[in-house]
Symmetry: C2
Subunit: 115 residues, 2 copies
């Protein structure tokens, strides 16, 4: 199965996890294409100043792969700047947030797998 | 956990799945960081002319997200060009290959999850 850039289901989440702004989600795989191993596989786009609020993962873990731009990532209470090519993993019971601190879009792949 | 671009374990596979050339793998997550849900989470780099040979997936499924460049993807017997932003899914019992047909590196994220 090939799913082109422009063929993905698009979703916009307002103030995602009590963050700022409107986050665009482009579904790379739908949940029923993950064979019960996870529940999210998306490309997310955060415009400058937008963020996904701090939230805890329970029963699953999430990884982000930064595609473009620069963000501040709160890694279970410790903040650091993340850039293109960086990967982050937030485990079961851990928390995270991410904010676009740059002047262009922050783009990332986000995948949530069950723990 | 944050793993920077330059902190990943690098591996080079020669004639991967009887393909051409040397494929560079940069491990985004190690297998033991996948909580039993999968066995591979890498960024792969194929120089021009290099390829991953045609092979079947049994007991798992794989997705590729194309980061840069252009390749010919053999999707279970049907060939198509894939480019930046495209995602492909090869299911349990299906087969695939990918070849760099461009004049710059083909880079992709590859994730194998169990079925």
């Amino acid at each position: 199965m090939i799913r082109r850039n422009k063929e993905r289901r698009e979703e916009v989440l307002h103030e995602m996890k009590e963050g700022k702004g409107d986050i665009k989600l482009f579904h790379l795989l739908e949940k029923d294409e993950m064979s019960g191993k996870g529940r999210l596989c998306v490309r997310e786009v955060l415009a400058p100043g937008y963020s996904i609020g701090y939230h805890k993962h329970e029963g699953d873990f999430e990884l982000y792969y930064i595609l473009e731009g620069e963000g501040v990532f709160n890694d279970n209470g410790v903040k650091a700047t993340v850039r293109k090519g960086d990967v982050v993993r937030t485990g079961n019971g851990e928390s995270h947030s991410i904010e676009n601190i740059g002047d262009k879009d922050l783009e990332l792949i986000a995948i949530i797998l069950f723990e």
